[in-house]
Structures are given as structure tokens and as C-alpha cells.
Assembly symmetry: C2
Homo-oligomer: 196 residues x 2
């Protein structure tokens, strides 16, 4: 059952009503809507808006071991993945190494590949299902449709997505500060050990 | 002179027409609109849409030496700044240091403080005008008004903002990879130098 839409919702088209009806009774669609809303309080997606977004997403299962995003890929940059169940290993190959370095393990509620969806740049890391995955995919095409059909929900979705990127950006900046500090300490150590 | 609005533009309210009229003949408003559009091609803001955003922004001059964003500030997190003219020094205080470390110098076209605007988290770095600045400010309040008045433009603005954050995120990730590599090399050097 869907709650009625409040406020300034544009009238739904036949196609949109169809999309939403297709979700009815789907537990994973409901889970996707809840996960999409995320933890932020500013201008948050309402649950009906989140359901609206989900109606533009494709449900997908990815088997364990499948690498569904590859570092450096310039072709498949037009989708993002919302993880509903399962775990994803994110790894990256640093120039000096031959073995990839695991940089993150992501679970339920994580958004993956949203930077590529937005800017179309080559993928920055590889993502592999480390357990069987259930997820929902939003393609750039679907995002463009959503933008035309329901701009207010798209605005709030974009806001939610940028908040997630911003939070990752804050984490990465913190790591960078710690590395800057660490290399400074190591440099002192090297200077101390060097024969004078 | 403003170009007519094309496509699915909602009808402008009296207040919106007033906002746009107030910009007419302003070179800095025109510059702000052009800078806001940025370099990205995907779902880009049109020039009329960018002008629409600018009509919700406040023009501001900041004197040289003024620190208008302070690292750790939890109160003034509800605005972002588009630099129209001048230069901004971004610095951050790392735990081990007493002197701030300059992390970036930003000029014309840079967007500053957009992460705070979006997530309301404490400011991650300090920003100081290193020359007299002309800029345009968007407050969260104005963003909320824009979202109600023109959701499609807001959606495209949010997209443009998230693309900028994503690009900074890519740069920061690259730096992090280089640091990871550097500390590894330094660790080898320390091991080599340590008396066995």
C-alpha cells in the first residue's frame, strides 16, 4: 500500500502510476526506499519520494565473486548501485603494487558508483560481491527520466547523493591528514637514522 | 536581458520575476550564472537556469585577510560561496602542528563550503580571502525556497554541486593512494637503516 502524496507533488502520469503499482507488496522495494532515505535530516526524501525513486530503479542479484565495477572502466559509468543485502569489497590498484589493496567493505544501505553516474569519469576503484548481493540499480537514463517526471524528488535524491559523497570526502580528508602527519614522523625517523 | 525560458519551466511567480529583474544589467550576476554552470556536460544547468539560481544568491564582498569559514565551526554551516573574483586560501590544522597547513588555493569559479551547506557538519577547513573577494552566497534557506519554487533547476544545481564534490573526492583519493605508496617506501627505508 502506498501512502498518498502530500504537498506539491505533480500529478502522476499513467506510466508513473504503473511503476509504483509494480512495486506494491515488494519487500525489497520497501527496503530500498528506506535505505535510500539515509540518515540525514536536512531536506530529506520522504518515504513516498524514496518509493518514487525506487520505482525508477532495477532490482538485481549479483552472484558472489562477481566484479561489477572495474577500476579504470570508461564505458560502464552510467549507473549506481544501492546495496540491499550482502557485502561488497572495494579495492584499488596502486601504481607500485601488483596486488590490489582493499580500501573498503560496504554493506546494506551503501551507495556504490554514484560518482561515475554523475560525472561519467572512469571508475576509481573495483567493486566485487564478497557475498551474494541483492541490489537496486539506477541508470543515468532513469535519472534523466525521473528529472523530467518528478524534479522535486530528483532534487532531494541528488541532495541525498551529494551528502553521501560529502561524508566520504570528509572521511578521506581525515585519512589524508593522518597520512600527512605519519610521513612527517617517518621523515624525522629517517633523518635520525641517517649517518651524519 | 534575459532569454525566454524553454521547455518544462514552471510559470514564474511575481516574487521570482522580481528576483530575476533585480539581476538585469548586473555583470556579476551574469558572471555568477556562467561560473555556476561549470564544465560538466551531463544534465547541465542551462544559462537561464543558472541565472535563476543566481537570483536566489546574495552578492557579497569580502575584504582581504578575512577568514569567512573556520575549521571546526558548527554554527555557520548553512551557506556556500561561489567565488566571482579573487583568491581564497584553504588551510587546515593537523593535530600534531600548531601552524595551519595550506591545502589549497582557490580562484574564480570555485565553490566553497558546499559540503557544510548540504550536511550541516562542522567545517572541515578554514577559508581566508587572500585578496579582496567578490562572491555570491547561497544559504540553505534560499536553497529550500528554490527547491519549492523551481525543483527542476534545484535538481540540476544539486547535480552540479555533487559533481564538484565528486571531482574533489577523486583528487583526494589519488593523493591518498600516493601517500599510501610513500609511507610504504619510507617504511622500507627505515627498515634498511635500522641496526639489525
Amino acid at each position: 500500500m502506498f501512502l498518498p502524496f502530500f504537498g506539491r507533488k505533480p500529478r502522476l502520469t499513467e506510466a508513473q502510476r504503473g511503476r509504483l503499482q509494480a512495486l506494491e507488496g515488494s519487500d525489497s522495494a520497501e527496503l530500498a526506499a528506506e535505505l535510500l532515505r539515509g540518515p540525514t535530516a536536512l531536506l530529506q526524501l520522504t518515504l513516498p519520494e524514496a518509493r518514487q525513486v525506487v520505482s525508477y530503479m532495477l532490482p538485481m542479484r549479483i552472484p558472489e565473486g562477481n566484479t561489477f565495477i572495474r577500476q579504470g572502466d570508461r564505458q560502464s559509468t552510467d549507473f549506481m548501485v544501492l546495496v540491499l543485502e550482502g557485502e561488497v569489497t572495494v579495492d584499488t590498484i596502486v601504481v607500485s603494487r601488483t596486488q590490489p589493496m582493499v580500501v573498503n567493505v560496504l554493506g546494506k544501505g551503501s551507495l556504490i558508483g554514484e560518482m561515475g553516474l554523475l560525472d561519467g569519469e572512469p571508475r576509481a576503484a573495483s567493486c566485487t560481491a564478497s557475498s551474494p548481493l541483492t541490489c537496486a540499480i539506477l541508470t543515468r537514463r532513469a535519472l534523466e527520466e525521473l528529472l523530467i517526471d518528478d524534479p522535486q524528488t530528483t532534487a532531494k535524491l541528488m541532495l541525498a547523493v551529494s551528502i553521501r559523497i560529502a561524508q566520504r570526502m570528509r572521511d578521506t580528508s581525515d585519512k589524508l591528514k593522518r597520512y600527512a602527519q605519519l610521513t612527517q614522523t617517518m621523515q624525522h625517523e629517517i633523518n635520525r637514522l641517517l649517518p651524519s
